[in-house]
Symmetry: C2
Subunit: 331 residues, 2 copies
Amino acid sequence: MQTQATTIRIGIVGHGNLGRGVEAAIAKNPDMVLAGIYTRRDPAQLKPLTAGAPVYRLQDLAGHKDRIDVLVLCGGSKDDLPVQSPQLARDFCLVDSFDTHARIPEHFAAVDAAAQAGKTTALISAGWDPGMFSINRVMGEALLPDGATYTFWGKGLSQGHSDAIRHVAGVAGGVQYTIPVDEAVEQVRSGTRPQLSTRQKHRRECYVVLKDGADAEGVRRAIVTMPHYFDEYDTTVHFISADELARDHAAMPHGGFVIRSGNSSAANKHVVEYRLQLDSNPEFTSSVLVAYARAVHRLHQAGQMGCKTVFDVAPGLLSPKSAEQLRAELL
Amino acid sequence: MQTQATTIRIGIVGHGNLGRGVEAAIAKNPDMVLAGIYTRRDPAQLKPLTAGAPVYRLQDLAGHKDRIDVLVLCGGSKDDLPVQSPQLARDFCLVDSFDTHARIPEHFAAVDAAAQAGKTTALISAGWDPGMFSINRVMGEALLPDGATYTFWGKGLSQGHSDAIRHVAGVAGGVQYTIPVDEAVEQVRSGTRPQLSTRQKHRRECYVVLKDGADAEGVRRAIVTMPHYFDEYDTTVHFISADELARDHAAMPHGGFVIRSGNSSAANKHVVEYRLQLDSNPEFTSSVLVAYARAVHRLHQAGQMGCKTVFDVAPGLLSPKSAEQLRAELL
């Protein structure tokens, strides 16, 4: 039996929810070791999950090329990754979770140019959507070309929509949950390939803390009519206290389904469903990033340079087990 | 945008349920064409789904090397594939659905030796289990290393168990359905990682036609106590008429779930579920075989010779779309 003797040295860039999740995920993978956490903050102020974990300033990274096999970038898709991923891909193999779907082609091009120039291997847009859900969209379509694909998100806390609520005048705090509509999910699961509007697929539920003296009905109306964010959905607003918000809504659960239904012949239809129920959106995303860091390390060792996505990674590369072991145990 | 201009020429070996399914699947994939159906029977007696489809004797295959890109082998795992796959892999790229889990390592070794010698690309054990379920077992474990994996089969018609029933004295005909136990599935979905016995996971339901004068209670007892097949399960036997058997039990539905639950940290657990509901087990298996035939053709064009499994195939290789198109549309 072949074994994986090498230890993969992971560097974490950024230590928010995602970076802490990567730290936790490394601890679950015996073939990995945390080489360092790199931060724009003062390293002395940062509290790693593991006492004594090495923390450095971001600018120290340039001198640490020989200490790191793969960097996991934990910044945001709006401002951090469009700059960091192409910049760091010149010198490091890396994984990011770039999730602005519409801008993936340009991000890919920028990272690919850097990785090709630096002879590194970089994988962008790992996570669960983009990521695991994307894989299931591609495979569903490939297995059942005569069919339809549906993606549902939730029940889960949406960061973007929660931010939008907090910007409404009179709101002191709040969160928003995206919830798939049960009837729509059941229709899709039945294999009838329904045409569903935005409103028919998801509903939105908001938990809002009012500022002193704010007009509840005015706030409610401002939320449910907000263009792009809420106006196309059935939205419910619940008013709660700051204590309730802190006590009941601090977690970041999420999840959803990708469902492909299609016909292999006029007589026979099939339904393929991939479903996630996540206690913590950032921690699961981090777990995916770390598994893809392993794949990136192997692709690099096999001489496959340039930018990759989850579509380019064979499932076996994600596992610490050898190909022989996988065939014997899990095929 | 890059397009796939090439047409992939598929040869089908064997024309039972699986071979007919492959014929149906080729018709759903515009980048594929049926080069020929190869049979041990008299070609004149075989009825292809498409009028005029070319049918040849199996021994004609040797002379058709330049007409075929990938063979899809549709024989059985017990007697056909252990002989055919290594034999044909010397001269052809191919896909098979070898599903005797315990013998996969030796089948792999035999096919790999032949494919390496012949400089061909062969993929074994495609389908849904082994196949799609195997991929989800590997990925579940890689994403959540601190966790447990559960595979449930059904509700579905089991060919092996149906055969076993038909060999019981006094039985004129019958089918067996494997059914996951709802309580077990719900426990697993809750993420509690239960320890489940064979009996707790699945139950078996049999629909049996008695021969004239057979003793129903004796037949029932012979079935439910049959070692390996039924004695470890709760089994229900229903006696029906030959007409009911033909009318209500001719279809071959199947499916099941692969569920991985695990923790990314002490505080947070996650549940990943992959689920299939199939009207026709052989037709869906055939759809998978054909998608993997596309991947085999591409791996071969890329110079990757030898034996492969689903663990070695990146998701993007299964799709007729280009990598650019997949990134822009489905990531």
